[in-house]
């Protein structure tokens, strides 16, 4: 045993770990720090106005939205995860990956499709009126999509794969012996679910809900389709209409505080829990027959239908109309640019997540801090985060120019802001949390005894990281990569503000035509985006399979 390889002192390359982790964490939260500085740089009476008029309504709406979307995402996600992992029924193999498909669909598209389909002037209500001879809205009742309910319905569907996927991973790793024991003691399948599987899946549900909650809080555009106004609306209004950036930054800080509470509660909830079991056997699925089997199929199919198939079908019908006018070379360019951005952001974020979580494993107290700091960006509305990035990158640019001017090299212009770097930084700030969460989940399933064994066998910290952690985390890292890839592909707000000259991404192109009320032109690129998202979704299923065979 090498004497320098105790788990207390970092040696060799591992010495660089703490400064690297702190550096990355600071880089990712620098835009937020910049916003906080702005927030307290100036005071105006606009807050009074908000306080007197709409602030409390917005706060209430944010809370209802948050709780509603999380609850509904659990309702869509958990039963399907249970059915898929525990039972055998018709079409299970297809539904297993199809349930991830809504991830390839941007929320703003799904929102648009549903409001368009179900509005009074939409095809469904028109058909109903024709059928039954109703004359106007007072003749019948129909669900109103432009409400809080509509927003919750759509957002929960689109975000439900997070819950489904995390919970099915958890189910597939649960100890079979516990389930067998429960069955032998005479418990029904439903009791096994409520008393054994569900309690064990609590951390997965919590992580899923945290991700869903942060996405929901940061959303502006999608919720605005439903004419639902919440805290993010207030942020946009004060900044863009009252031109009061300090107040907008203050309101964002309030949102941030909310997120810190959310993350802390989630961490606290599972602080003293260990969720790995030393020996695992793959779950044996119980075959369902008759009506039960078809009900299981129907439930999972319903989620896929509502969250993916229906919007995709609608997009296809729209796309057909403009197919002949399509500028394919332009689409190819946009597609490739989108792929490039998504790929580089995902790679960067995964490396960052590994470094931060590795540090958290070596130094739990400080490491958890760095990871938490780096995760904050997820809940900040994209445009506001983009402003933070802009402040940071332009400040560095001005410093560089001051330096080159002083040393006689002359003006070099903007090297960071106004380039792809700024956009990639904004995306990484926004999605690092996903990577950190996924790697954290993977790490928490590696017993610390593995590390101790490695150290006892004379491995250094960096060897342990390379030879033990990396292979065991392979699937978590792949998962993190794929999730961030999908999210970066769909991300819009930061791209709109930070993109360089003449760069068009699929998301910005779609958005441009959607706001111009020419959705029919946006349908084909939207479809292209969904197609690009399919391979990552399939790979996610593959990583889910691998998970079973991963641990000894």
């Amino acid at each position: 045993m090498k004497s320098n390889s105790t788990s207390n002192t970092l040696t060799g390359i591992a010495k660089a770990w703490p400064p690297l982790a702190w550096g990355l964490s600071l880089l990712l939260c620098a835009p937020i720090i910049a916003l906080l500085v702005v927030a307290f740089s100036d005071y105006s009476d606009n807050f009074r106005h908000l306080y007197d008029t709409v602030l409390f309504i917005y706060m209430r709406n944010s809370l209802i939205l948050l709780l509603g979307v999380c609850t509904m995402a659990v309702i869509w996600g958990v039963p399907s995860a249970w059915l898929i992992s525990r039972f055998e029924f018709p079409a299970r193999r297809i539904l297993r990956w199809a349930l991830l498909l809504p991830m390839a669909m941007p929320a703003y598209l799904v929102a648009f499709v549903y409001t368009d389909l179900l509005d009074y002037a939409g095809p469904i209500q028109i058909a109903l009126r024709d059928w039954f001879g109703w004359q106007n809205a007072s003749d019948y009742w129909f669900v109103d999509m432009r409400t809080m309910g509509g927003a919750i319905f759509v957002l929960s569907l689109v975000f439900s794969p997070y819950v489904y996927w995390l919970v099915s991973l958890n189910f597939s790793e649960q100890s079979q012996s516990l389930i067998h024991a429960a069955r032998l003691l005479g418990r029904s399948e439903a009791q096994v679910f409520y008393k054994v599987m569900l309690p064990l899946a609590r951390p997965a549900i919590a992580v899923g809900c945290t991700l869903v909650g942060m996405e929901t809080l940061a959303d502006y555009g999608t919720v605005a389709y439903f004419s639902v106004w919440h805290m993010t609306t207030a942020v946009y209004d004060t900044w863009l209409q009252l031109f009061d950036l300090p107040l907008a930054a203050k309101l964002s800080s309030l949102l941030l505080l909310f997120v810190v509470v959310l993350i802390t509660l989630e961490k606290r909830g599972r602080r003293h829990m260990r969720f790995y079991s030393e020996r695992q056997t793959p779950m044996l699925r119980v075959p369902l027959t008759g009506a039960k089997a078809w009900l299981a199929t129907a439930w999972c199919a319903l989620v896929v239908l509502l969250g993916f198939a229906l919007p995709a079908l609608w997009l296809s019908t729209q796309a057909v109309r403009y197919f002949a006018d399509t500028d394919w070379p332009a689409f190819a360019r946009m597609g490739i640019d989108t792929l490039k951005v998504a790929f580089s952001v995902a790679s960067m974020a995964v490396i960052i997540a590994f470094i931060l979580q590795g540090y958290a494993r070596l130094r739990p107290k400080r490491g958890n801090w760095t990871a938490r700091l780096a995760s904050l960006g997820y809940a900040i509305p994209g445009t506001v985060l983009a402003i933070g990035v802009l402040i940071v990158t332009t400040s560095i640019d001005h410093a560089i120019n001051a330096f080159t001017n002083a040393s006689g090299y002359g003006n070099v212009g903007l090297l960071l802001s106004g380039t792809l770097f700024a956009m990639a930084l904004a995306f990484s700030c926004r999605f690092a949390a996903i990577g950190i969460g996924a790697v954290d989940a993977g790490m928490s399933k590696m017993p610390h005894s593995y590390d101790d064994c490695a150290y006892l066998n004379g491995y250094s910290h960096s060897e342990t990281a390379r030879k033990i952690w990396l292979p065991l985390l392979r699937n978590s890292l792949l998962t993190a990569f794929l999730l961030i890839f999908l999210e970066s592909m769909k991300e819009l707000s930061a791209a709109l503000l930070l993109r360089p000259f003449n760069v068009e991404l699929l998301s910005t192109y779609i958005y441009q035509y959607m706001t111009a009320e020419r959705f029919e032109v946006a349908a084909l690129p939207a479809l292209l985006m969904v197609v690009i998202g399919l391979p990552p979704v399939l790979l996610l299923t593959y990583s889910m399979d691998k998970k079973n065979a991963q641990l000894p």
């Binding site: 106004w229 209409q241 090299y409 903007l414 802001s417 106004g418 000259f501």
Partner: protein, 335 residues
């Protein structure tokens, strides 16, 4: 020395600013302005680079400071122009050509309007017919219209601009009473876009709707989506306030960035956009009202008839913009 040259060349090579072309920062959508920019390149050989941003463009220019590659900024409304000027991000447009092209009430010290659009009241052809010339925006608050009006969010720049003009003409208190009245008359919660309101008229959800003029043209000529023609044909386009101070007009405009690295080329582009050819394109392609005198409206727009425009100084409207937003919050127009 050699080291200096190498470092300088390296930094220059990766620098973000493109120097020989005109760099356009735009709030207006690419597809609306690209035809004019292409025509400019064809005529002068000067290329254009564009960034289309909806939110936060002023902040970006502000942060970029003296290093900003922006030459000109195109905006969709007056409030964005005002914001740029107030933040000190623009410089005076010194051009005799521009002064000759654009009337004085359509330009400020540091900006020029390029097109104008009317804020119309649409009415159902079948249930209401054409509105009398005595009809005003204020009438929309009368109890007889209860449950009959549709509009998009009160916070959309088009509506804020209208509300700001009512404040400018009638005072804040009267504007508030009016806005409360309009809210009480709404057929449904404010939602959707201007086209959606006309569609709602066809579907019988409401009898009256607020909407910009050029959408009417865009819908009437939509060959790809012929159903939009039907929406438009179910409604009459009315120009309110004909017996008072005229129909409210909002403008799209252009400003010259303070640190424009290609100022000469940028001025050429601004001059081009205010001249006959581009103005005619705005009129024919986008169905907007050209601001240069003597440029003909598109035949379709002309067929809606001559009307009296509100000639209030648009700066005055811009000044009331944030008051308008606060009124929308106070009466909880959107909630």
């Amino acid at each position: 020395m050699r080291q200096k040259i190498i470092v300088g060349a390296l930094l220059g090579a990766i620098s973000a600013s493109a120097l020989a072309d005109v760099n356009v920062y735009s709030y207006r959508q690419d597809f609306l302005i690209q035809p004019m920019l292409d025509a400019f390149t064809e005529e002068t050989g000067i290329k254009t680079n564009t960034i289309y941003v909806k939110d936060g463009l002023a902040e970006r220019i502000k942060r970029e400071g003296a290093q900003s590659p922006a030459d000109i900024v195109l905006t969709v409304d007056i409030s964005r122009l005002e914001e740029l000027v107030n933040e000190g991000l623009t410089q005076a447009i010194e051009s005799e050509t521009v002064n000759a092209n654009i009337p004085e009430n359509m330009r400020g010290d540091q900006w020029v309007a390029l097109t104008s659009r009317a804020r119309n009241v649409y009415s159902s052809k079948e249930r209401v017919g054409e509105l009398p010339t005595s009809f005003t925006y204020l009438d929309l608050a009368k109890p007889e219209y209860k449950g009959k009006i549709c509009t998009r969010s009160g916070k959309h720049p088009y509506n804020l601009s209208l509300i700001a003009s009512v404040i400018a003409h009638e005072g804040e208190a009267a504007a508030k009473t009016w806005l409360e009245g309009v809210k009480a008359n709404l057929a449904r919660k404010p939602q959707g876009n201007d086209r959606g309101q006309v569609k709602a008229i066809m579907e019988g959800i409401c009898d009256y709707a607020l909407g910009n003029s050029y959408y009417y043209g865009k819908m009437l000529t939509n060959e790809k989506e012929p159903e939009q023609k039907a929406w438009a044909e179910s409604a009459v386009i009315n120009f309110p306030n004909q017996e008072t101070y005229g129909t409210h007009m909002n403008v799209s405009g252009v400003a010259l960035a303070k640190y424009a690295p290609n100022k000469d080329e940028a001025l050429q582009l601004i001059e081009f956009l205010t001249a006959d050819k581009a103005q005619q394109m705005y009129a024919d392609v986008n169905f907007e009202y050209p601001v240069k005198e003597g440029v003909a409206q598109s035949d379709l727009v002309a067929s809606w008839g001559e009307f009296k425009q509100d000639e209030i100084d648009i700066n005055e409207v811009a000044d009331n913009y944030s008051k308008a937003l606060k009124l929308v919050d106070e009466v909880q127009f959107d909630l």
